[in-house]
């Protein structure tokens, strides 16, 4: 069990965004958080990444509690994320965006960079090489020096994923990675995620709407509606579940 | 020091605190709706004072008429500033707005220096303002009563507008979330203009009162006062009108009382507001009224 979400409740003032929700993700699983808009999925992400503190409950990563730890430290522990509305660094190239992910791993100091001491060169070379490897897997290495926002939407998504992978996470949180893609692209993306899961030895937790995509990709899912769990289990069972079908008003017909 | 002198200082403190409060309200309201520190706001106070000087010393109008005209023109100036300089930058990165604000502030200060000269001009304080009466040893001037009284009335007026009128509700909604307000069919820009107008009007009143209490008017007079007023707004809780007033009084009182007890600190008087600011940022960044502006409130 790499991630345990234990009885999380989150209230914003008078509004309960998430109510007593629990699930756990096993190592190398691909786990889906699904549900209608506003169901609390992104809020759950934000709690895992440390942006919000849960009103009640705990989050455990590798058995240790991470709720209440500062977001940037949680990244160092091995959790990285992408955003629903792609948030790349607008002024920087694709390479520089990905290099940001390596920030923690590059071991040279401030003074070493000012005086251009050997360790600076060694580390920069190492992380750039690694960055290109990651970009290669995602098929965007050719765009390394381009301005990140000049790429197409689909390619920008990949840059975001590359950037998150650069942080060397054990758990990758993807917020609607297939948004805005056509069926061909989502098929490709699913294959890509399988590859990433295997090549990088990584666990994936994702939020998604596209049920076909989820069905193809995920091992297990948690279905949320208005902050409450209406199903947790294998994807095969999810699509047969009455409550789930009701919540999705027959979206599963297309799955 | 005896109780009488202390009481005297309290009276002075009330006066000074009121003026800081009036200017602080404008800062806090603009920050509330735009998340912008309007550096030019302190200079509006100066403009108000200069308008007062012009109308009274040059055109020899009466004080009440002067106040009315100065306030109206200053309000218009504030709205004009928003319209030509801040509104076009609504979608721009915040730093552009801040730089523009500094630019406007600097422009106002220097424009007035060029056209009115840097030498301070004596403000013609109306006689009735200077009348004093003695209440068991404590000296009150009409001004020292009028200023806090008017401030209180204006504060209540602003609170009434904010909590009991449609426009006020829109202003408060705007400080929560600018996008929602647009979706609700209220024109956010009109509301923002209103905020600038109100804030500038209050700053002008503050400037006029300042001129009455310290009867000299010069182009740089708004600089330090503005800085302290913003510190007051932060101390009281940025985004909260009541907080701004509280902060204003705290700083005003501290300045007066500390100098009264320790006159040798005189040269450091202007540093107190800054010290308060740092302390608040260190220990309670949301200020006294304590609203986290991610869920903003007035």
């Amino acid at each position: 069990m790499i991630l345990e979400v234990c009885n999380i409740t989150k209230k914003f003032g008078g509004v309960t965004a998430i109510k007593d929700t629990s699930f756990s993700v096993e190592s190398k699983q691909i786990y889906g958080l699904i549900g209608p808009n506003g169901a609390g999925k992104t809020t759950m992400f934000n709690i895992i990444t440390g942006n919000y503190e849960p009103t009640e409950g705990a989050i455990k990563f590798h058995g240790q509690r991470i709720d209440g730890i500062k977001p940037y430290k949680i990244v160092h522990r091995g959790i990285a994320r992408t955003f629903q509305n792609i948030r790349l660094f607008k002024s920087m190239s694709v390479m520089d965006n990905v290099l940001i992910g390596f920030d923690y791993q590059a071991t040279y100091t401030y003074l070493e960079s000012i005086f251009r001491l050997p360790r600076f060169f060694g580390e920069e070379k190492r992380i750039r090489k690694r960055a290109l490897e990651i970009m290669d897997v995602l098929g965007i290495a050719e765009f390394a020096d381009e301005l990140a926002t000049s790429l197409s939407y689909g390619q920008q998504r990949k840059v975001e994923i590359a950037r998150a992978l650069a942080a060397n996470p054990q758990l990758l949180l993807l917020d609607e990675p297939a948004a805005g893609m056509n069926p061909n692209e989502t098929q490709e993306l699913a294959e890509l995620f399988f590859k990433i899961r295997d090549d990088f030895d990584i666990t994936i937790l994702l939020i998604e709407h596209d049920m076909k995509f989820v069905n193809h990709l995920c091992d297990r899912v948690m279905v949320l509606d208005y902050g409450k769990t209406i199903f947790e289990g294998r994807i095969e069972d999810a699509i047969q579940d009455e409550e789930v079908i009701k919540a999705y008003l027959g979206d599963f017909k297309h799955a | 020091m005896d109780i009488l002198t202390f009481m005297q200082q309290m009276v002075n403190g009330f006066s000074l605190g009121s003026m800081y409060a009036l200017i602080a309200i404008g800062y806090t309201m603009v920050y509330g709706v735009l998340r912008l520190i309007n550096f030019a706001h302190g200079d509006i106070m100066m403009v108000g004072a200069f308008l007062g000087y012009t109308f009274m010393a040059v055109f020899e109008l009466s004080f009440p008429v002067t106040v009315l005209l100065s306030v109206l023109i200053s309000a218009a100036l504030g709205m004009f500033m928003d319209k030509i300089a801040y509104k076009p930058l609504r979608e721009a990165p915040k730093i552009s707005l801040l730089i523009t604000a500094i630019g406007i502030s600097f422009f106002l200060e220097n424009a007035f220096t060029v056209f009115a000269g840097g030498t301070p001009r004596p403000f013609p304080v109306p006689d009735y303002m200077e009348q004093i009466f003695d209440v068991s040893g404590v000296i009150f001037s009409v001004a020292s009563i009028t200023v806090p009284a008017v401030t209180l009335v204006l504060l209540l007026g602003i609170l009434y507008v904010l909590y009991r009128t449609k426009y006020g509700m829109a202003i408060r909604a705007l400080s929560f979330d600018i996008k929602t307000v647009n979706l609700m069919g209220i024109d956010a820009n009109t509301i923002i203009a209103l905020v600038f107008g109100l804030g500038s009007a209050l700053a002008a009143v503050g400037g006029l009162f300042w001129a009455v209490n310290y009867p000299s008017v010069e182009p740089m007079m708004g600089v330090l006062v503005g800085l302290k007023a913003f510190a007051a707004a932060v101390v009281g809780g940025i985004g909260s009108v009541t907080g701004a007033v509280l902060g204003g009084f705290i700083i005003g009182f501290t300045e007066v009382v500390v100098i009264a007890f320790w006159p040798e600190m005189g040269g450091y008087k202007d540093a107190f507001a800054f010290v308060f600011l740092i302390l608040v940022l260190l220990f309670k960044p949301t200020g006294i009224m304590g609203e986290d502006l991610e869920k903003g409130r007035f």
């Binding site: 942006n51 940037y72 990285a80 920030d103 920069e124 | 060029v114 600089v223 940022l281 260190l282 960044p285």
Partner: protein, 345 residues
């Protein structure tokens, strides 16, 4: 050509540096005093602008700190380089404290202390400000500048109050100013082209995303701010040794405003822009001096209007913000102009 040490980029940089050093030597020997003074001034302002750009332009944190730290640097250098006799003679308001008299050092160390003390002060300011949402940096630094002036005026035993410190040994020559300018530019560029510079830009572009990528944004902002202060302190020291006479009135907000205009016009976020902006603005201020004097317009002579220059400059600033926000270079550096498609604007 697989040369990893002598790359084309580095050779070009080396050539630029050597040319500049040669130019400094040439100017120091052959130019007249007035021109040398201007070049000294420009060099110092390049140091100031390039470092101010680090916190404002690269890290995107709006700060108004320069006049405060420049003042500190200037006073530290002045106190350290003016000898005790001269101090006792000058300090007219009060006698200087014994420790003030005792503090003596050579120019190099004086500059070092100027920079370091500024940096330490910046560190202590950074803590309360960046811990919070950082919006208050501008106001706190604005206030800080005021406080420094107040302290300078009210501590005559240390600073000789409003009279200021005079007869500072004129150590600043083109080698010091130009040399340190080169060092500052190199240091800042090295920072920018490293993981720290990338992190600073990330904080500027999207602070929340930067945090989500594991960047300690508080630390990065503090590093940028402290570094800016360090070089501003050194610039202040050089200024003191150039002007040979400093007083609290030298370090008003106007100084910060000048630097702000410089980096905005040059392009917020571009070091090359800061350098170009310095030359442009310094030349412009000189050129516009006529605005402060009586002007002869078609036979009408207007009165002298001190402050008109600044009115024009503030209008230029507002204009640039509204219509040409990127300034001259935007966020690009000189070498980016030579890359064809791969623009970093």
């Amino acid at each position: 050509m697989n040369n990893t040490v002598f790359t084309k980029d580095r050779l070009i940089n080396l050539a630029i540096i050597i040319t500049t050093i040669w130019f400094l030597w040439f100017a120091q020997h052959f130019f007249d005093e007035y021109t040398i003074r201007i070049i000294n001034n420009v060099a110092i302002f390049i140091i100031l602008a390039v470092s101010y750009n680090l916190i404002n332009g690269i890290t995107g944190q709006f700060s108004l700190e320069p006049n405060g730290f420049i003042a500190i640097g200037a006073y530290v250098t002045a106190i350290l380089t003016v000898d005790s006799e001269a101090m006792l003679y000058q300090y007219d308001i009060e006698d200087p404290y014994p420790w003030v008299l005792a503090l003596q050092s050579n120019f190099g160390w004086a500059l070092f202390f100027s920079g370091t003390i500024s940096a330490l002060l910046a560190l202590s300011l950074a803590f309360p400000v960046f811990r919070v949402r950082g919006d208050y940096l501008a106001i706190v630094t604005l206030g800080f500048g005021f406080i420094i002036r107040i302290l300078a005026i009210n501590s005559p035993e240390i600073t000789n109050g409003s009279l200021g410190i005079n007869d500072i040994p004129e150590f600043s020559n083109l080698y010091w100013t130009g040399g340190l300018a080169i060092c500052t530019v190199l240091a800042v560029l090295n920072i920018i082209y490293s993981k720290f510079g990338r992190a600073m830009k990330a904080v500027r572009d999207d602070e929340d995303a930067a945090t989500a990528m594991g960047i300690n944004t508080f630390k990065i902002k503090t590093m940028a701010f402290t570094t800016s202060a360090f070089f501003e302190g050194i610039g202040g020291g050089l200024l003191a040794a150039l002007l040979t006479s400093i007083s609290p009135d030298l370090f008003t907000f106007f100084l910060t405003f000048q630097l702000l205009i410089i980096i905005v016009l040059g392009g917020l976020g571009s070091t090359t822009g800061a350098i170009l902006g310095t030359i442009f603005v310094m030349a412009g201020l000189e050129y516009m001096r006529f605005l402060d004097e009586p002007i002869n317009l078609f036979g009408f002579e207007t009165e002298a209007m001190p402050g008109m220059r600044m009115v024009v400059f503030s209008l230029i600033l507002i204009f640039v913000m509204l219509f040409a926000r990127e300034g001259l270079m935007g966020k690009r550096e000189l070498k980016d102009l030579f890359k064809k498609k791969k623009v970093n604007k």
